[in-house]
């Protein structure tokens, strides 16, 4: 893989991770607030 495509691949991963973190964070927040994840389950 060329330098350029490796940097672009890194950029794509970073952008995808950004969305993933946003979705995971918000879903976890809602699950905890609505009692689906109880306190005792969080180590």
């Amino acid at each position: 893989m060329s330098d350029d495509s490796e940097v672009q691949a890194e950029r794509r991963t970073s952008l995808n991770e950004d969305w993933l973190a946003t979705i995971v964070g918000l879903v976890l927040l809602l699950l905890v607030l609505f009692g689906v994840i109880p306190g005792w389950l969080i180590p």
Binding site: D3, E10, E17, D18, L20, A21, L28, L29, L30
Partner: protein, 371 residues
């Protein structure tokens, strides 16, 4: 019959995936140990000579130290580089910060937004300008100057990645800018909270200084958590504001390099779309989490919401621990040795300017905050 090339590629991909999962497992295992130490050591050492020290050691310290020890062990075993795909600092920290948004009342974000935007705008302009100028004086390559200036003035590794995409930098330039960010961030995590204490700064000013200064978002959270809960909140708001400006800088860099350096025509086409692409989406998650939790609290009442928000905070701490462990595991010195002293000198000088200007702005803009 299966194509041997396809078969080899498939085997390579599944092997990479297995190593990445292994890397995540290492991060989680060390994270579990950190959580155990954080909760257990103060109780185990109570009444002993170490008890007093153990009581004030915060979880970022255990996480980073154990991450660094893990780094040495895995390097000795020769597997660190293969597992590195699982050391997802950026994912863990961003998820942790979205959850942190859930514990900040939206009114706090609104009242801190004004000073945070002013601080971020001035700091980015001054520090980016200084780094770009000094890099030019020392004869650094334009692309490397852009990477260093973005990393030191905006938000560390993620800014370096965005800038590398914008100016089409080489992979090595990105690798050693990222290493430099971590090398400078690691001591800052411990030294800045000590300096906040020594200078007698308030939680808000200390948080704003930490948030405006330390380059990488994960390290900002680590230092903020050491200073205190309010400092962590203000540091995060300040850092998140800088993150939000990343898109603007990346687009400006793309346009500058396309127009001036590469002499391309139509360089300003499609900028609006790019601005959105480069905008860090977790900032929206952070704001949304704060709005959701603020509405939730006003609907169910503060007393009913409090234990649930405590659970959100515990979950946030777990993600921050995983991010801090990853920082320790990712740390590498090798790319710096290849870079020579000039980029290191530029980065160090820019960090000093950032420290001084950041302190001045934090005192100026956050002194009366929350009083």
């Amino acid at each position: 019959m299966a194509d041997p090339v396809t078969e080899t590629t498939t085997r390579e991909t599944s092997s990479t995936t297995a190593w990445t999962i292994g890397g995540v497992a290492v991060v989680i295992a060390i994270g579990a140990l950190v959580r155990l130490l954080d909760q257990g050591v103060p109780a185990w050492t109570k009444g002993t000579g170490f008890g007093g020290i153990a009581a004030v050691i915060e979880y970022p310290v255990y996480a980073i130290v154990l991450g660094l020890i893990g780094n040495v062990v895995l390097t000795q075993l020769g597997v660190r580089d293969r597992l590195a795909g699982g050391f997802r600092t950026e994912f863990f920290i961003k998820t942790g910060l979205v959850l942190l948004g859930g514990s900040i009342n939206f009114a706090v974000i609104v009242s801190a937004a004004g000073p945070a935007i002013v601080q971020a705008f001035l700091l980015i302009t001054i520090v980016f300008g200084f780094t770009w100028w000094l890099g030019g004086r020392l004869g650094l390559d334009d692309k490397l100057r852009a990477l260093l200036a973005s990393a030191v003035s905006i938000c560390g590794v993620s800014a370096a990645i965005a800038a590398a995409g914008a100016v089409q930098a080489k992979k090595e330039q990105l690798a050693y800018t990222a290493s430099m960010v971590v090398i400078f961030a690691l001591p800052s995590i411990f030294l800045l909270p000590l300096a906040v204490d020594a200078l007698g700064l308030s939680q808000a000013v200390g948080g704003a200084w930490v948030g405006g200064n330390i380059d990488t978002t994960a390290a900002v959270s680590a230092a903020g958590a050491i200073v205190g809960e309010q400092a962590l909140q203000i540091a995060t708001i300040v850092k998140t504001t800088q993150n939000a400006l990343l898109g603007v800088v990346a687009v400006a860099l793309t346009a500058y390099f396309a127009l001036k350096v590469e002499n391309q025509e139509n360089a300003t086409k499609g900028r609006g779309r790019e601005l959105w692409e480069r905008f860090p989406k977790f900032v929206l998650g952070f704001l949304a989490a704060s709005i959701i939790a603020t509405i939730f609290t006003s609907v169910v009442g503060a007393a009913a919401a409090k234990p649930l928000i405590t659970n959100v905070n515990d979950l946030r701490t777990i993600f921050l621990i995983l991010a801090f462990v990853s920082i320790g595991l990712e740390f590498r010195v090798a790319p710096l040795k290849e870079a020579g002293w000039r980029p290191v000198g530029v980065f160090a000088s820019a960090t000093v300017v950032n420290l001084a200007v950041g302190l001045g702005l934090a005192v100026l803009l956050f002194s009366g905050f929350g009083t």
